[in-house]
C-alpha cells in the first residue's frame, strides 16, 4: 500500500526528500513521476501526520514543479500508480506546465459587516434588509479584491471563509511581494482592518482547471 504525495515532471529527481522515519520514493512513467511512501497498513491520521505531509510538499515545492495530492490518498500498489500516471498523463502534464514557477498565496480580508445570522431585534423586514446590505457589501468587496489581484496572479479561487473573504492566488514565485503590496495598499485606502496574506504554499487550490475553463475547451 502506498501513500501518494505529489505528481512531478519525470527526470527531476527531488532527492533528498525529508520526512522523519520514512523513505519517500519516486516512480516515473512517460513525462510524469509520482512521489510516494510505502505503508505497511493504513494508520490513524493525526494532526502530526497532516503537518508532516505539508512539510514534505513545502520542501518539495522548492525543488521542482509539483501537483500536490490531497492528504490521505492511498493506492494499492506501485503498479496502480503507474497506470494512474498513464491514464492522466495529458491532463497532469498540461497542469504541471501551467503551474510551473508559481506558488499559492492566500489573501484574507476581514468582512466585519457580514450581517446578522438570525433576527434578534427589530422586524423581519429590518433583518432581511440587513442581510441584503451585507450581501451587497460582500459582493463589492469581492469584485474590488479580484480587480486588485488579477494583475499579479495567473488564476484565483475563492475559498470558504466566515466573516472574511479568503482568496487563493496562483502567483509567480518571484513576484509575491507586488501582490502583497497591492492588497495592502487597497485595504489601507479602504480604512478597514489590515489583510493577511499567507504563503507561499504548494499550489493545492490549483491542481485542476476551473469549471468555466473546462467548458470552454482546451
Amino acid at each position: 500500500m502506498i501513500l501518494l504525495y505529489a505528481i512531478i515532471p519525470a527526470g527531476q529527481p527531488p532527492a533528498p526528500m525529508w520526512k522523519p522515519g520514512a523513505e519517500l520514493r519516486v516512480v516515473a512513467h512517460g513525462t510524469l513521476a509520482a512521489v510516494y511512501e510505502e505503508l505497511e497498513s493504513t494508520r490513524a491520521a493525526s494532526i502530526q501526520e497532516l503537518t508532516d505531509y505539508g512539510a514534505v510538499l513545502t520542501d518539495l515545492m522548492q525543488r521542482c514543479p509539483l501537483l500536490p495530492v490531497r492528504f490521505g490518498t492511498v493506492l494499492d500498489s506501485v503498479e496502480d500508480l503507474r497506470e494512474l500516471l498513464s491514464s492522466r498523463q495529458d491532463e497532469w502534464a498540461e497542469r504541471l506546465s501551467r503551474i510551473a514557477g508559481n506558488v499559492e498565496v492566500i489573501v484574507h480580508v476581514p468582512d466585519s459587516g457580514a450581517g446578522p445570522n438570525r433576527p434578534e431585534t427589530g422586524s423581519g423586514r429590518d433583518y432581511l434588509l440587513a442581510r441584503v446590505a451585507a450581501h451587497k457589501r460582500r459582493q463589492r468587496l469581492q469584485e474590488e479584491l479580484l480587480s486588485v489581484v488579477e494583475a499579479h496572479c495567473l488564476e484565483s479561487r475563492w475559498l470558504r471563509g466566515v466573516d472574511e473573504l479568503r482568496l487563493a492566488c496562483l502567483v509567480p514565485a518571484v513576484a509575491t511581494d507586488p501582490l502583497r503590496r497591492a492588497v495592502e495598499a487597497w485595504a489601507g485606502a479602504q480604512g478597514g482592518a489590515a489583510p493577511i496574506l499567507t504563503g507561499p504554499h504548494p499550489v493545492l487550490s490549483f491542481t485542476e482547471r476551473r469549471q468555466d475553463e473546462l467548458a470552454a475547451g482546451p
Binding site: 494508520r43 491520521a45 513545502t58 482592518a193 499567507t198
Partner: protein
C-alpha cells in the same frame, strides 16, 4: 489591530492544513482505496474555516492547554 509575526505563522499553518484536506489532486475511480481517517483530522481542524484572527487565537489557546496538560 494587526497580527504579530508568530500569529501570522499560525494563520499560514492553518491555511496549509485546510488546503491539504480540501485541495490537491483528487483521485476517483477504482484505484483509490481509502481516504484514511480524514474525517477525524477534519474535526480537529474545524477552526480552519473561522476568520484568520480567530484561528490564531484558537491555536494559541490550544497550545496553552497543551502546555498545562503536557508540562
Amino acid at each position: 489591530m494587526s497580527l504579530q509575526p508568530g500569529e501570522r505563522r499560525d494563520v499560514g499553518l492553518a491555511d496549509l492544513l485546510d488546503r491539504l484536506i480540501d485541495g490537491g489532486v483528487v483521485l476517483t475511480g477504482d484505484v483509490m482505496l481509502s481516504v484514511a481517517d480524514v474525517d477525524l483530522v477534519y474535526i480537529g481542524l474545524r477552526l480552519v474555516v473561522a476568520p484568520a484572527r480567530i484561528v490564531s487565537e484558537s491555536i494559541r489557546g490550544a497550545r496553552s492547554v497543551e502546555g498545562e496538560h503536557g508540562g
